[in-house]
Subunit: 354 residues, 2 copies
C-alpha cells in the first residue's frame, strides 16, 4: 500500500515474514511470505518512547540468510522466529514520534528494521542521520554505512594492509568487497578480486581501480588462478566466501599473512556438516598466518574514525560506490536470492518508497 | 660406537640418514637408516671457527616428521635431502674447539644438531649453556628449552590466557602440552587436556595440576566430551593435533576465543588432500575467534623474558617436567614413532651418551 501522506491514520502495512525455515538452498516463496497487517499510526496508539516511520530502504545482506535456516550453525545471529517479520538494516523517515529527540521527517537507521512498508519501534533502536549535501541516501547503507565500516575494519584493523601488500578479495563486487578493494588501493596495495561474472571483472578493473580481477565461474581452477594473479603470494585475504576458495588461498599465502574472515557466502545454503572442509590449515602454522573472524557490530566504537576517513575518500572521489536497487516490497525475495547468483553488482538495496 | 675419551683421533660415528621419503604413515626403517661414517676429531682436520662435540641428547619432536615426507605441504621446514643426516634440536659436549668462545667440556645446544654420536659444526650454529645447579640437562630440551618457550608463547602471547579462562590443550601430555597446561594453571585458568592413554589422564590430574583430562581414544565422541568438560565453553585452545578435534573445538568456542595453532600431529602422516577437512570455520566469523599459527623460532627475541619467568616457576615447583628418555642411537626410530602412538609421556628425548 502506498504511503499515506498525512500518516495519522491506520495503514495496511505489507511485511515479509518467515513461514518456514530453509536449512539448505536459497530461501524461496515457500519459506518467506508477504502478508498485509493493519498498523495504527495514530498518535494515541503509539507507546511513549516509540517512533513510527515509513521504510525507505532496506539493506540486503548475506548474513540475513543465516537467520532463516532454523539451525544454530551459521553466524551467531539469532534465528528469526517462525511467523515473525524479517528484520534487516534499514532506513526510514519518521512519521510520528513520542520521543523528543526525533521529529517528523527525520531520517533514521535501524539494524533491526522490519522488512515492511511501515514500522513502529522504540526510539533507542533508531539512529538519526543528517545526510550531507550531495550524498544520496543509499550511501548510508553502503560506503558510509555497515558495508563501509565492515570493509574498513577487515582491510585496516584486521588485515593491516600496507603499501605494497598483495591483497586478495573474494566476492569483490559485492556490497562489502567493492569497498574493501578500493580501500586497499587507497593504502597503496596491489589488489586482485574474484567475482562471478565478466561484467563484474570489467567493473572492478575499469571503475574501481582493482589491479586485476577474475571470474571464478570461468577460471574454475582456483589454484591456477591464484598462481597467475599472485605470483608473489598473498599477504592479506579479505574472505567473503569461505569454503573451497579459502582452502586454495591457504596454499598461496605468504609468511605472516593475515586473513580477515568477514563471511562465507559459499557455505550459507548448507548445513554445517555438508560444508566444504578446509584440509590445509597446517599452512596456518608453518606460515604463521593470523586468521580472525569479525562481526562489524564489535567495531562500532571506531565509527567516528571510520566516517572521518571515508568521508575524505568520498569527497576526493577515491571510493566509487555502486548500488543495485530493487524496487518495491514485492522484490525482497528476488533481491535476497540475487546475492547467491552473482547477478548483483555492488550493494544490493531494496527501495520501498519511490 | 662409544665415545673415545681422548677424542683426539678418528671415530666411527653412527648417524641416521634419510634413505627414502615417507609421504604418508609413520616413517620406518625403510625410510630412515643408521650408518657408520668415519669422522676425524683431530685438531688439524677441523676448520677454523668449527667445534667438535659428542652428542648427549636429541630432542624428538613431531615437526621433524614433516621434514621426511619429500612433499612441500607440511610445516614450512625444508625437506631433509635424501642421503643426508637427519638434524634436530640437540645438546652436546665440546671435544675440541677452533673458536675461542668455546672450550672443551662446554655444553652446547644446536637447532640443527645431527642425529649422530658425534658432530662437527660451525660455532655460530651453537649456543653455549651454563646449566644451573640442580637442574638436570634434559630440562634444557624441555621446560627450559624449545618446548617450554613454545608452550609459553601459545598460552601467553597468542592465547592471552587469563585468570578464569577455560583453556583446552590437546596432546596435553606431550612435550609442549604438558608445560602449556601447567603455565595456564599458574595464570589461574581452568585447564582440561586430552591425551591418548589413561595413564596420561592420571598423570595430568595428579601430578600436573590439570583440572581435568580425558582419553580421546576412549571418549571418541569428541563433541560429547567437550560438552562434558567445558560446560561454559572454551576461551583458549592450544592446538597440537589439528583435524577432527579442531573442528569439534570450533563448535565449543566462546565469543572472542583465541586458538594458538602450534602443530597438527594428527595430520602429519597424510598428504594434504587426505587431511581432515574442517567444515565449521564459519564459527570463527560468528564468534569472532582469532586463530594464529606460530613457529617458536619467531619468538626467540622473547627468550630472556621467558627464561626469567620459567626459572621462577621451576624454583617454586610450579612446573613439573616429565621426560621420556630413549637410550642409545639405535632407539631413534622407535622414539620418533612413539610420538604418533600415544606411548610416550612428556618430552621425548633420545640420550646418546650414558
Amino acid at each position: 500500500m502506498a504511503a499515506n501522506s498525512s500518516a495519522s491514520t491506520d495503514v495496511e502495512n505489507r511485511e515479509w515474514y518467515v513461514a518456514s525455515y530453509a536449512p539448505t538452498g536459497v530461501p524461496n516463496s515457500e519459506h518467506l511470505k508477504l502478508r498485509t497487517v493493519s498498523l495504527s499510526l495514530r498518535a494515541d496508539s503509539i507507546p511513549d518512547g516509540h517512533v513510527t516511520f515509513q521504510v525507505l530502504y532496506v539493506s540486503i545482506d548475506p548474513y540475513v540468510r543465516t537467520q532463516l535456516s532454523g539451525l544454530d550453525d551459521g553466524l551467531s545471529f539469532p534465528q528469526i522466529p517462525l511467523g515473525q517479520v524479517i528484520t534487516a538494516l534499514g532506513m526510514g523517515k519518521v512519521i510520528q514520534s513520542k520521543d523528543a529527540k526525533f521529529s517528523e521527517g527525520d531520517i533514521v537507521l535501524s539494524r533491526i528494521c522490519p522488512v515492511s512498508e511501515f514500522g513502529v519501534m522504540p526510539s533507542n533502536l533508531l539512529q538519526k542521520i543528517t545526510p550531507a549535501i550531495g550524498i544520496a541516501l543509499p550511501n548510508y547503507l553502503s560506503c558510509l554505512g555497515m558495508p563501509g565500516i565492515t570493509a574498513w575494519v577487515g582491510i585496516g584493523k584486521i588485515g593491516n594492509a600496507k603499501a605494497g601488500s598483495n591483497v586478495y578479495i573474494s566476492a569483490a563486487a559485492g556490497g562489502v568487497g567493492i569497498i574493501a578493494g578500493q580501500l586497499a588501493k587507497v593504502k597503496g596495495c596491489r589488489v586482485v578480486g574474484s567475482v562471478g561474472s565478466d561484467d563484474k571483472v570489467k567493473l572492478l578493473k575499469e571503475e574501481c581501480g582493482y589491479d586485476d580481477a577474475f571470474n571464478y565461474r570461468v577460471e574454475t581452477d582456483y589454484d591456477a588462478a591464484l598462481t597467475k594473479y599472485f605470483p608473489n603470494g598473498i599477504d592479506v585475504y579479505f574472505d567473503n566466501v569461505g569454503g573451497k576458495m579459502l582452502e586454495v588461498v591457504l596454499n598461496h599465502v605468504n609468511h605472516g599473512a593475515r586473513i580477515a574472515l568477514c563471511g562465507m557466502i559459499s557455505e550459507y545454503n548448507k548445513v554445517w556438516k555438508e560444508r566444504e572442509g578446509v584440509r590445509n590449515l597446517l599452512n596456518i602454522v608453518g606460515k604463521e598466518v593470523m586468521m580472525k573472524g569479525f562481526m562489524v557490530s564489535s567495531y562500532y566504537n571506531h565509527y567516528e574514525e571510520f566516517i572521518k576517513e571515508m568521508g575524505v575518500y568520498l569527497k576526493e572521489g577515491k571510493i566509487n560506490s555502486k548500488h543495485k536497487i530493487y524496487n518495491g516490497i514485492e522484490s525482497f525475495l528476488e533481491s535476497l536470492a540475487s546475492l547467491f547468483s552473482s547477478s548483483n553488482v555492488g550493494k544490493v538495496i531494496l527501495q520501498l518508497t519511490p
